[in-house]
């Protein structure tokens, strides 16, 4: 395997591994730009992964599974929204509750229904998302040097949710920047009173954002279970919802930097996987656990030292109460 091929393989897995992060991070961005802090991204993804795996298995259709995953995540989002927007509750408490609920409920239900220690039966055929080959992929790999393998591995040959997730980045950027909804959303996260006195419903905007957050979490969670793996495993989100939160902060709540941050985390993951069992010159065989810890370590380092001034939306985390 020449170096271009190796690079292409690493970049390919970077793309695959960054998808759940990207979905969760964009979800967090939508929610927080509207002023609702959501640390329940993890729980929503987990619930979506479980729901999509179960329904995909029962229906035999990956797309139906994805739909179920999105519905499950949106349902949890609305619970969070109800607590945070309508009842002006503490958003951290509500998020933690959702995480705990999802962690417990998925295992209990999985065990009750399938009796496989919380796993769901493995998905085959139509019940999983197949990789889509883009036009000219095979041809490019053979004939075009360097760029060919890159195109074939990195750009082509992913499942539909991958393309959806990446398409969500420009979509998010465009909606925020160039639409009425986007303008109002940016405003409501900074100064909800300004939106209210302009005659626009603060709660309506925030519910809208929270629902979008649910849809994106649903996409990310379903991808994990129905595309990246072939079924649900207990705790399969493995903290990605929290790393995504870090990515949002790292990216200063902007969509394109969020993409770059998630790709960086994905790259770390991909390198970590490739490094397993490889003997590095001067260090020797690196323990698997040390390598697996890399992305988490990176999260801490990035958050601790490498962010410039991260300025969150000013009203983020604050329930909107009219004065008095």
């Amino acid at each position: 395997m020449d170096w271009a091929q190796t690079l292409a393989v690493i970049l390919d897995s970077t793309i695959r591994l960054s998808v759940p992060l990207l979905c969760a991070a964009l979800a967090g961005l939508w929610s927080e730009r509207s002023g609702v802090v959501d640390i329940g991204l993890e729980g929503k993804m987990l619930m979506a992964a479980f729901a999509s795996a179960v329904i995909a298995h029962q229906s035999g259709s990956a797309w139906t599974g994805l739909g179920a995953g999105i519905l499950a995540a949106v349902a949890l989002s609305l619970v969070h929204g109800f607590a945070a927007i309508t009842w002006r509750g503490n958003q951290i408490v509500s998020g933690v509750a959702i995480n705990m609920l999802a962690a417990g409920l998925t295992i209990i239900l999985g065990n009750a229904w399938f009796g496989q220690g919380g796993r769901t039966p493995s998905l085959e055929g139509e019940a999983r998302f197949a990789d889509l080959a883009l036009p000219f992929a095979a041809w490019a790999r053979e004939t075009v040097p360097v760029l060919g393998p890159l195109y074939a591995e990195m750009v082509s040959g992913h499942a539909a949710p991958v393309y959806l997730a990446f398409a969500a980045v420009p979509a998010t950027a465009l909606v925020l920047r160039h639409t009425r909804f986007g303008l109002r959303l940016r405003a409501v996260g900074e100064n909800p009173a300004a939106v209210d006195t302009a005659g626009v419903s603060v709660a309506g905007l925030r519910y809208g954002a929270v629902i979008i957050c649910g849809v994106l979490c649903g996409l990310g969670g379903s991808y994990l279970a129905v595309s990246q793996s072939a079924g649900f495993l207990p705790h399969m989100t493995a903290g990605k919802g929290f790393i995504a939160l870090a990515a949002v902060i790292f990216a200063n709540w902007r969509p394109v930097p969020v993409l770059l941050a998630c790709l960086l985390f994905g790259l770390l993951d991909a390198v970590a996987i490739r490094l397993q069992g490889v003997s590095l010159p001067g260090i020797g065989l690196v323990p698997v656990q040390a390598i697996q810890a890399l992305p988490y370590l990176m999260t801490v380092i990035l958050l601790a030292g490498f962010i410039g001034r991260a300025t969150p939306p000013r009203a983020s985390g604050l329930p909107y109460v009219k004065e008095r």
Binding site: H178, R180, A198
Partner: protein, 512 residues
């Protein structure tokens, strides 16, 4: 009233609103004639802002009727108020600082799901309004980077852009220099000349006299009087506001100041972002002298207090007490307090009190180590209560209940608690920030008399206030701050408002 007379622009009938135990508005009625400037005065908490918030749909009234131009309307949200032709400039601006001027103006009336087309139209309309009223503004500037005077301009343009016929301004001059305030009043005149109706909420009687046609006085949630401005006087209005006679002038015996106590030499301050907040401050405070600092909020007054109180370290220059330069170890609040430099912070709720604590606990804040409050590391609640009761009696704090949570006291009484705590310690230097902000007239009188009494006792006092009237009434000398520099100094006896206004705005008097 004859049928032929035009219907009033606004008619409020029997408006009531209760917040928990507080009856904020109690059967309030008001008529505002079209094309006039109508002032509403009252002390803090009299219910002016609540009434206007009801008119603007921010709160729903419990009872009462609103008529706009003779037609009964229901205003349940700000959207409905805007549709009824009402615009409001809030005391705390309703602007999104991270958005541009144009975005802020468009917010809520974008004219389509995509911004592009609406933005072009909004830009043209904004240019037209700016031209028509002489309100120049850069539509692409970020609102957060504009000075407050221009932010207020954005708020006014926002209301005009929405086609407001009735403009409500809530304490609009609090953030303006006197020349800016004059400009604003000229604008209000121009608006009424075009048939628009203006409601001006203020507690500054001078403004009422200067710009309004009619004035209504509120006290404790009720309308006390409706008067034609030409037929009343500041003294009569003050009496109506408070319900008893008040002395608007502060009685201040002449006094020759003593020796210098506190001196600043070439003091400069840079903040964490490297922005210069103070530069080349030379200032001497003498015993038995009140030095007033005049300036628009945000021009270095807060930083001046912070440096002197030891809360910020000057990046250059030195500070000396009794002719001795203070070393770094002495430039912290605890050491300075021991040296007799006491500080009444500008924002009592943020820096002066822990409002969740009882009043008694707040009375000893910062003096916990005092042996009088308990042996060793222990605190004695009964001794603290006794101390608080004595302080409350001396400073007329109402209610005199040491157990009551500090947040439950009115602004004036909270300020008296801070005052009692700091003055009780026999200060040599007293740093006072905004002593009467959000304080009712009765308490203002009390606080002013206390400050004068301290001056008589030989304390050197530095007074920072955004109320130019207050600075002029209390001070022996006045310095003007603009952009972190001292732009001029006047003896209070020779100072006049126009001259000070120019100094505050950074126009040096010598050049004129």
């Amino acid at each position: 009233m004859s049928e032929a007379a035009a219907a009033p622009a606004i008619e409020l009938i029997g408006i009531s609103k209760r917040f928990g135990p507080v009856q904020a508005n109690d059967g309030v009625s008001l008529q505002v004639a079209a094309g006039t400037v109508h002032g509403i005065v009252g002390e803090n908490g009299a219910g002016k802002s609540t009434l206007m918030s009801i008119l603007y749909g921010f709160y729903a009234a419990d009872a009462g009727t609103i008529r706009i131009a003779g037609r009964e309307v229901e205003i349940r949200s700000s959207g409905e108020a805007i549709a009824a032709g009402i615009g409001m400039v809030h005391q705390h601006f309703m602007l999104v600082e991270t958005l541009s001027v144009l975005d802020n103006i468009m917010l809520g009336v974008e004219g389509g799901a995509l911004l592009r087309g609406g933005m072009r139209r909004a830009r043209a309309e904004l240019a037209r309004l700016s031209g028509a009223y002489g309100l120049a503004i850069d539509p692409d500037a970020l609102v957060g980077e504009l000075p407050v005077g221009l932010q207020q301009r954005v708020e006014i343009l926002k209301a005009l852009y929405r086609g407001a016929d009735i403009l409500i301004l809530d304490e609009p001059t609090a953030v303006l220099t006197p020349p800016e305030a004059d400009q604003l009043f000229a604008l209000l005149r121009a608006l009424t000349a075009q048939g628009k109706t203006v409601i001006l909420i203020t507690h500054k009687l001078r403004e009422i006299m200067a710009v309004t046609d009619h004035v209504s006085v509120m006290r404790r949630g009720r309308m006390i009087a409706h008067l034609a401005t030409a037929a009343t006087s500041p003294a009569a209005l003050a009496e109506a506001m408070v319900g008893r006679r008040v002395l608007l002038r502060v009685e201040k015996p002449p006094r020759r100041p003593g020796p210098p106590v506190l001196a600043m030499q070439g003091v400069g301050l840079r903040d964490a972002r490297g922005v210069t907040r103070l530069s080349e401050i030379d200032l001497v405070l003498r015993a038995g002298e009140i030095v007033g600092v005049a300036g628009v909020a945000g021009n270095g007054q807060s930083e001046l207090l912070a440096v002197l109180a030891g809360l910020a370290q000057p990046s250059r220059g030195e500070i000396s007490l009794d002719g001795r330069v203070l070393g770094p170890a002495e430039r912290n609040p605890a050491a300075l307090r021991r040296l007799g430099v006491m500080h009444i912070p500008e924002d009592r709720q943020k820096d002066g009190l822990v409002t969740a604590f009882s009043a008694a606990e707040n009375c000893i804040l910062g003096y916990h180590d005092d042996a009088a409050f308990g042996p060793g590391p222990l605190l004695s609640p009964s001794r603290i209560r006794r101390h608080a009761r004595a302080a409350f009696a001396a400073y007329d704090v109402r209610p005199p209940d040491p157990e009551l949570k500090t947040a439950k006291f009115s602004g004036g009484n909270q300020q008296k608690i801070v005052l009692a705590r700091e003055i009780e310690r026999a200060p040599r230097v007293l740093l006072v920030g905004q002593p009467t902000r959000g304080v009712d007239i009765g308490a203002i009188e009390f606080i002013h008399r206390r400050l004068i009494a301290l001056r008589e006792a030989g304390v050197a006092i530095l007074l920072v206030s955004v109320e130019l009237d207050e600075v002029m009434a209390l001070s022996d000398r006045i310095i003007a701050l603009c952009g972190g520099r001292i732009t001029g100094e006047r003896a209070a006896a020779e100072a006049d408002e126009r001259d000070l206004g120019l100094l505050i705005a950074g126009v040096t008097g010598e050049a004129a």
